[in-house]
């Protein structure tokens, strides 16, 4: 079996991996819809978004690999880390759920990503700024797509409304992780690499409030629970996701693909 790679722990690398892994793991989950969507047109739309996210993760992991000082490429980073070295917030790895859960998680994450990409256009890292410029366009579309659907489902039928409420209840405990700072944020802010995540909270709440208001939905009260994916302590779901995603790279050491 192919052994894991070891990543040096620097705040800069952590900051990039938190973002890159969010794109990677979200893309992995969205890709699960391909061939199983509620209608053909939507199947195609979901795959387009998964492709955007995978593209973003490739750019970010490549950049992280360059900064690792060990010459890792995107695939070593995507497929050969131990679970604890993945830095996505836990929300991204939760199972794809029903269509309401997928849409509302997309709404949460695309709004969040859009806001962070906006800020990252001004990163002192020129490459990261360039990635952000391209990704921002994609995130804006993802946000609009999710927002339109949230309104349709919130307003649609009793069942769709009930499913949206259930999805929001499931999502809510994982939201604080998206807006609380630690040393990684402090370093990124100080160096001009990117914004501290806490600075995204207010604009995120405003944009979410607008969409959810139109949908007749509301975010549930936050809980005392804190998820910890971004420091590498994930949910039980992550192991299964990685076992599936990493299987070929692990099973065929030295393989060419």
């Amino acid at each position: 079996m192919q052994a894991s790679i070891q990543i040096p722990a620097t705040p800069e690398l952590d900051y990039l991996l938190r973002l890159g892994d969010t794109c990677l793991i979200s893309g992995q989950r969205l890709g699960e819809w391909c061939g199983h969507g509620p209608i053909l047109e939507e199947d195609i739309a979901l795959s387009n978004m998964a492709l955007d996210l995978i593209g973003q993760s490739r750019a970010l992991l490549t950049l992280a690999g360059q900064k690792s000082g060990k010459g890792f490429d995107e695939d070593q980073l995507a497929f050969l880390r131990d679970e604890g070295a993945y830095r996505n917030p836990t929300l991204a790895e939760l199972p794809r759920g029903d269509f309401a859960f997928t849409i509302l998680r997309n709404l949460v994450l695309s709004t969040w990503l859009k806001l962070i990409w906006e800020r990252l256009r001004d990163s002192r890292d020129a490459e990261l700024a360039a990635i952000a410029g391209k990704a921002l366009k994609e995130a804006r579309y993802h946000q609009q797509h999710a927002a339109d659907w949230a309104v349709r489902l919130g307003d649609g039928t009793e069942e769709s409304r009930r499913r949206c409420e259930a999805a929001l209840a499931q999502i809510a405990p994982y939201l604080p992780e998206l807006f609380e700072d630690d040393t990684v944020d402090a370093a990124a802010e100080a160096s001009g690499l990117g914004p501290a995540w806490s600075s995204l909270r207010e604009p995120w709440l405003a944009e979410m409030g607008e969409v959810l208001g139109e949908a007749g939905l509301a975010l549930p009260e936050s809980t005392k629970f804190r998820s910890t994916g971004k420091v590498g302590r994930h949910s039980e779901h992550m192991g299964y996701l990685l076992a599936e995603m990493q299987y070929l790279q692990r099973a065929y050491p030295g393989g060419a693909w």
Binding site: E41, N48, H145, R152
Partner: protein
């Protein structure tokens, strides 16, 4: 034809780049106009085919009757004088 709970059908027109006409390129099902525009983008412009899309409900299109084809379009056949090639000019000015 269409079952009662089927999303309506829309015709999609794509402009490939600024300066060109929107051209009919197919159809799709969507529940509302906003969705139809997004779906048109997702379904018909995956390979940089588009810079603008129009969508219109298929049941809103009024088409000529194929049975009237002769009546409508054949009369243009003998109006050869509408075409520039009808006029034979001296070579020296023929680029006119």
């Amino acid at each position: 034809m269409s079952t009662e709970n089927e999303w309506p059908l829309w015709e999609v027109f794509v402009r490939t780049k600024a300066g060109l006409d929107h051209k009919h390129c197919g159809s799709l099902h969507a529940a509302d106009a906003r969705m139809a525009v997004q779906m048109a983008r997702d379904v018909y412009t995956r390979r940089q085919e588009g810079s603008s899309v129009w969508v219109v409900r298929s049941d809103q299109i009024v088409a000529s009757d194929p049975g009237d084809k002769d009546m409508l379009f054949d009369p243009a056949e003998d109006k050869v004088y509408r075409h520039p090639t009808f006029y034979k000019l001296p070579d020296s000015v023929d680029q006119m």
